[in-house]
């Protein structure tokens, strides 16, 4: 297969026009001793038919394709309306790049502006950017922002933040990350207050948290602000259709930065990437915000249009003094999220969130009635809960695979003491019948009938 656009005859004419006798004359600067002399050892060339056969076999070996999924932990099986795919596949969006020439990029820029608008509405914050790599790096960028803004170094993290996010934070900030252990699954405000001090730049919490439980945002914001730290909320944006927006409220009671993973808005799991980080913050932090920002303006005829703005924050202008090293955003995923939110709209998104709550609680009630199983935590939960199993969670997962059910995430992969804990998520896609089959898997794996 080849995608080049020049024939051998044209190549001859071009070399003549350049004024060299052979292509090799153009490579005189390359070190002769280091040139590749053997063909690269890679598979191919393959025709499309062969590509489909080879990759199709790999895809088919993944047993997720036709199973009912109760997996969560940040990546959920939400429905993607057909129109999202139809728009998201359009090459006008997919094969454009960063809108450096706004006169021929109003499609991308307008969609970014609408994305920012909907994130502002959901989070309650004053401003939002055009997106970041994923929810996890959005948390890291928020932590870095808190450090530059406050001039302090430490970041305090609530214990029920996704363990992988804590790991990545540690890669970025090393010993400056301090974790306040959760109590009964949520962040204890007294222990949080005790962990704060004059060196703390920001407090990071997740809401709903890694276990699916709702935190007490006001209590966390107040403790953070009393200590002079920024309050950073990492929120599932579908939950925000129902929950009070953490970024809204008078000074002291609102989060300063709200970030999260918006993959759930019209994008596929794809083994966890590409994902879609959103980033929203207060007006006071706008000029420290990382990433691209679209703004409304007018053209020479006074017509409405959109441009990238406040670019003097960015690396291509500020270099080592930039607010972040980030260059790209997740444009295509943000577009799909915008189409998703446009389609679902106010009623649709609330319905999705409500169906998640109803079905999750239904599943939790049924599971608690199966001998040997119990809910680990007592607090309010959104679309996810931790189930203690009478056997290793891994055994439940294996039992489910045989029945076309992915019963949940085995939390033993995070901590050995959680090896009997199964993290279960139930989205609007799961039917009552699938939930019954899931319960049967629990029963069978637990040794019951």
């Amino acid at each position: 297969m080849s995608y080049v656009g020049i024939s051998p005859d044209e190549e001859r004419r071009m070399l003549e026009a350049i004024g060299v006798s052979s292509f090799e004359d153009l490579l005189r600067d390359l070190p002769a001793d280091e040139r590749i002399t053997h063909p690269l050892a890679v598979t191919g060339p393959l025709s499309e038919i062969e590509v489909r056969r080879r990759f199709g076999a790999w895809a088919d070996s993944n047993d997720v394709a036709h199973a009912a999924s109760f997996l969560g932990g940040g990546v959920y099986d939400h429905y993607i309306p057909a129109a999202v795919n139809a728009i998201g596949m359009r090459p006008e969006f997919a094969t454009a790049y960063t809108p450096y020439q706004p006169e021929v990029a109003q499609g991308t820029l307008t969609a970014i502006f609408e994305f920012q608008s909907m994130i502002v509405e959901l989070t309650g914050c004053a401003v939002a950017n055009a997106s970041l790599y994923d929810g996890c790096t959005a948390v890291c960028e928020a932590a870095l922002l808190a450090r530059t803004h406050t001039g302090r170094r430490a970041i305090v993290v609530a214990g029920a933040v996704h363990p992988h996010i804590v790991e990545v934070l540690r890669t970025y900030l090393e010993a400056d990350v301090r974790v306040v252990e959760e109590r009964n699954g949520t962040c204890p405000p007294d222990a949080l207050a005790a962990a704060l001090g004059p060196d703390v730049a920001g407090v990071v919490y997740q809401h709903p948290n890694f276990f699916g439980l709702l935190e007490n945002p006001q209590a966390i914001h107040e403790r953070a602000h009393q200590a002079g730290a920024l309050a950073i909320a990492s929120c599932d944006p579908i939950a925000l259709a129902l929950l009070e927006p953490p970024g809204r409220g008078s000074d002291g009671t609102a989060a300063d930065i709200v970030v999260g993973e918006a993959l759930c808005f019209g994008n596929t799991p794809s083994l966890g990437g590409p994902a879609l980080g959103y980033f929203a913050c207060s007006d006071a932090l706008l000029r420290r915000m990382p990433g691209r920002i679209a703004a409304e303006t007018v053209d020479k005829q006074g017509r409405r249009g959109y441009v990238l703005t406040l670019q003097t924050r960015e690396q291509h202008i500020r270099r080592e003094k930039a607010t972040s090293n980030i260059c790209t955003n997740q444009g295509l995923l943000a577009l799909r999220a915008t189409v998703y939110l446009g389609l679902m709209g106010r009623e649709g998104l609330i319905e999705v969130a409500n169906l998640c709550v109803q079905k999750t609680h239904h599943a939790a009630r049924l599971a608690s009635a199966v001998p040997g199983y119990r809910l680990v935590h007592g607090g309010a939960f959104f679309r996810e809960f931790v189930l203690e199993c009478p056997v290793d969670a891994a055994a439940v997962v294996t039992a489910g695979r045989a029945d076309g059910i992915l019963p949940g995430v085995d939390l033993g992969r995070f901590r050995p003491e959680w090896k009997r804990h199964l993290l279960v998520a139930v989205t609007e896609q799961r039917s009552a019948e699938e939930i019954e089959r899931w319960v049967s898997v629990l029963r069978r794996a637990g040794g019951g009938k």
Partner: protein, 499 residues
């Protein structure tokens, strides 16, 4: 007159809605009972629009974009080449698209095998020992590489001393920004008068505090550095490691391998060289390839084959830790491996050959009408200067805007910073001679217009959906979302989207 284009929030209203959801098939209870103590929101001000109108809204928006499937896109340093459609179809197969990262290795052996195969292919193409696919983009890869280099120096007890990174003044802005993020100091090294590395200056700047050098190859002027091996050797002798910014790898595939040139580490922008769609700004992917010396420090998990099966290996005591929640931008990794497999060794080598040929052809032709500051054979891209047009009152920005009227995208402008009024042109290998000639013709005509009708260029573009936009006003008013817009001014009346 064309119908005024409105934002989604300005369309529809109560009673309008999109796709229906199934009625609840489980017992429904009040939210206050299910979420005791939770503070719920009072309102949610999202659009209320029917599906047909949402589709029209976005299809109309799509028509306002220039994109590589429509026309030439010579955006220097961004490698806007054809994105084969088969790549997207394969990535959308349910077995890949629905794979869940926490399902456990046994649930998705095929997905992990794609990662293993891609790692092998990228290591072979770049000449390195190992690859991590975790970084989500080039800049993320830079940071990952620098953290590995930091871990390497620490393991040798030199971490506290080696805190400086040498970066040429022609580098991409992400390089110094990433150095800063790693907590290190940037030492900028001026380029020589021929825009290439000043070897003497580089050697003079190296000392026992140098942690690394960062180099873009070919450099951002599209020139290969003939003395690169001397530079990397000097750096290594000084105890520093050599990082290569792989943004310009499209010039090197099948010709030379960075690992053979003395580099220890590089990131690879899959969305550039390996042809995954750029998506209006992303997603990209920035896997990092490393030499054997850096392999112990790779992020966890390392995906590798054990007994013929791919596994996620967490037992890596010297690892820098995780840099991504999961395995990186897997959907992009699939596309890149499809591309590599489709082309094979012969096709991959042709990529760089044709990219270099196309760039040199355009460069020679345009050198007659624009200033070519460094008249040497280029690699996959080249940089012109528009400073000669200044005497007519015309800036490079005006040339870029006028190009839009010819149905092509503008080159990268005002970068690299070391060339005045820079125009950075990267045609890529997938363009035909006919397309190159059309672009050259447009550039030549614009050079004539600069002399004969300079005012026309300052007004350009004339045929795009909007004319030049007031960026100063955007930065002053900061209308960043539709609620702010509603505060500052009403919906403009009588505006059109063009003819």
């Amino acid at each position: 007159m064309t119908r005024e284009r409105r934002l989604l929030i300005e369309q529809g209203g109560p009673g309008h809605r999109g796709p229906a959801l199934p009625a609840p098939d489980v017992p429904v209870r009040p939210l206050a009972e299910l979420l005791p103590g939770a503070r719920l929101r009072a309102s949610l001000d999202l659009p209320q629009v029917s599906e047909p109108e949402v589709v029209r809204h976005f299809v109309e928006l799509s028509t306002l974009n220039h994109h590589v499937d429509k026309g030439f896109y010579p955006l220097g340093s961004c490698t806007m080449k054809h994105n084969p459609k088969i790549n997207d179809e394969i990535a959308a197969l349910p077995g890949f698209a629905l794979a869940h990262p926490l399902a456990g290795d046994a649930a998705h052996p095929g997905a992990l095998q794609v990662i293993v195969e891609l790692q092998k292919a990228l290591a072979e193409i770049t000449g390195f020992a190992a690859v991590t696919t975790q970084p989500a983009a080039g800049a993320h890869g830079e940071m990952t590489g620098l953290l590995m280099i930091r871990a390497y120096h620490r393991a040798r007890g030199e971490g506290d001393r080696r805190r400086k990174v040498l970066v040429p003044d022609s580098a991409h802005g992400t390089n110094p920004a990433s150095v800063h993020l790693a907590g290190w100091e940037v030492v900028t090294v001026k380029s020589a008068s021929d825009a290439r590395v000043d070897v003497a200056a580089f050697k003079a700047a190296l000392d026992d505090q140098t942690a690394a050098i960062m180099f873009t190859l070919p450099n951002t002027l599209g020139l290969f550095e003939p003395q690169i091996v001397e530079v990397t050797r000097a750096a290594r002798e000084a105890g520093a490691l050599c990082y290569m910014d792989g943004a310009n790898l499209n010039a090197l595939v099948g010709l030379v391998r960075p690992g053979d040139l003395g580099f220890d580490c590089m990131h690879i922008n899959l969305h550039k060289t390996f042809s995954t769609p750029h998506g209006g700004g992303g997603p990209g992917a920035g896997p990092v390839a490393v030499s054997a010396a850096l392999e112990p420090f790779l992020p966890v998990p390392v995906v590798r084959e054990v007994g013929g099966r791919p596994v996620s290996d967490f037992d890596r005591p010297q690892s820098i830790g995780r840099v991504h929640t999961h395995y990186g931008n897997f959907g992009i990794l699939v596309r890149a491996l499809v591309y590599i497999s489709s082309l094979g060794a012969s096709g991959l080598t042709q990529v760089s050959r044709q990219a270099i040929l196309n760039a040199n052809y355009l460069m020679r032709r345009l050198a007659n009408s624009y200033e070519l500051p460094f008249p040497r054979a280029c690699m996959h891209e080249f940089v012109l200067s528009g400073r000669g047009l200044r005497r007519h009152g015309v800036k490079t920005l005006d040339v870029a805007k006028r190009l839009l009227d010819f149905g092509v995208h503008a080159p990268t402008v005002y970068f690299p910073l070391i060339v005045e009024e820079a125009l950075m042109i990267e045609p890529t290998e997938t363009e035909t001679l006919d397309r190159l000639d059309h672009f050259a013709g447009a550039m030549e005509r614009i050079a004539r217009e600069a002399v004969e009708q300079p005012d026309l260029l300052k007004e350009a573009p004339l045929t795009t959906p909007v004319s030049r936009l007031d960026e100063g006003r955007a930065a002053r008013e900061l209308v960043l979302h539709w609620r702010a817009r509603a505060r500052t001014r009403p919906v403009p009346q009588g505006t059109t989207t063009g003819a």
